[in-house]
Amino acid sequence: MLLKLTFNSLYARLLTVAMTVFAISLSLMLYMSVEKLRTSAYTSFTDTISQTDLIVGARTSSVQLLLYSVFRIGNATNNITWESYEDVINKKEVAWSVPISLGDSHKGFRVMGTNSEFFKRYKFRGGQSIELEQGNNLDDLYDVIIGAGVAEKLNYSVGTPLIVSHGLQSFSDHDDQPFRVSGILAKTGTPVDNTVIVSLEAIEAIHVDWSTGAKIPGQITPVEEIRQMDLSPKNITAALIGVNSKLQIFQLQRWINEYPEESLSSILPGVALQELWRIVGVVENLLLGISVTVIFTTLIGMTAIIFSSLNERRREMAIWRAMGASPKVVIGLLMLEAFIISVMSIIVSTVMLFLTLYVLQPWIDNTYGILVNIETLAVKDIYIFMLFILSASLVSLIPAIRAYWFSINDGMTIKI
């Protein structure tokens, strides 16, 4: 009966209660959206590269090496020689390797030289392989494979000619050696989408007439002549390494880091990703802080609403007391109201969240490469809900205790 009457009481104040529920739901939804995006961004971020045991590059910090080799952000401090690379991959612990050569660009998109191993070995999102959506592999020296993002933003298709620019912000183009789009990769939600992939030989080819970062004046080697040249790579920027046994990772890492011929760094991608996420995590903590503040503010708002209605409900409290309800029942009634409001808010916010995510998921995936999981609520969400209900019930104690004193002091005299 108490539950029924509490619902009736709430229903009698439908507009106020509905607005309260809506306000709380919005703040809860904001919190859950941030949390969903945060966890999804983290998952997408850490899933950018998987099943690679080590990344090798010139001596630098682990975060910087990860940034330029995987996320194509920033520049390498130095290259590593092909000889050093061969020394590394000839170690018995190495099962496979993917050389990467970076430094050039095309209309703002990074150009990456690599070999066919990249398409076989590069894994993302828990082991998915990259796939060609259209076209073919790098069959010709001047073939490029572009990521889905490049194709979409530049409106390129298989067969489209393109010119690679020297460096990242250079006005010098390798226009004497035009390329052609041979294939377009399926969307991955990783930096690969925004990468222009060429062969390592192509990187050597476009730099035939270049020396120490500048074009040699007056030297233009014909393309046909270049095709006949030995284009074996002399340097690479980094390499992805897979080992035969996970037990050998640290041993190999130490060997590389202590390699005497050249200063090299080898990093564990997972560890570096965590380090990097800690830096990025400041923003997520800020967002989280804002959401929690919003929830806290809403809880205060709910308390204020219960408080403001208290005086006009003083007569109602006196009726309850006259019927034999103890002051504890009066407290319980107000806490029950807060409980019902918070449960309703949770239900409304969850429905709103899932509807919003359902509509926005494809857009978020396409725009930001973040695949938001909308299938279930996480255990953490359930804990947050329970904490919210508990907090709402606790803050409702403030007006409830006030009502308690009213009900004790009013007796038969109802003061309004």
Binding site: L5, A12, R315, R321, A322, M323, G324, S326, G411, M412
Partner: protein, 232 residues
Amino acid sequence: MEKSNLNEKTIQINSVKFHWSNKSKFKLHIPELSVDKGEKVLLLGESGSGKTTLLSLICGFLTPLSGNIQLNEKLINDLSATKRDQYRSDNIGIIFQQFNLLPYANVIDNILLPLYFSKSRSANVNNQRETAISICKSLRLPEDVVNMKASELSVGQQQRVAVARALIGNPPLVIADEPTSSLDTDAQTIFLDLMFSQVASSNSTLLMVSHDKSLSSKFDRVIDMKNVSEKE
């Protein structure tokens, strides 16, 4: 008026003293006051004479600073707050001056509310809904009123529903705090007649507070606050 036992006292008050901590001027001292079982008593008094405070003491909302209050020979001022609440629920039906009902609840729920808190009163009612409807009929409330929201009733109807609620489960004592003050003269007479007949059929004792002396003739006995309380 036939009384079940003239020697049995429903209310017995001895040397009760009370004052509010924040109202230094107001002091209530009742040397002796008693109401017999089955009696219909009118408690007259001017505003500020302490009528409502006395009712709050009898109902167990307040406890006296000294003295004894016995209801059905049970000393209630020695009971804990929780037991006083339970005792009130089991033994007293209360009618306020106005706004007696929970506005958002329907008439039936309002009438049955005391039974939720009192097992003993609940045990006196076989079929709660039928009993509530029957009392409503006796109080000449329209048949369809039981499912209406309390806020949809006229003031007179609300007061009669309050009587039904006070009487359900046959509590030994009914306390009414100026229940007719918001009614016109004709409605007052009808209301009091209906209340008296229902109180009589429940074999309950009625203690009604008013400042309207013209009602005196309708009661078995009139107690004037001036005569029962001593100024200090």
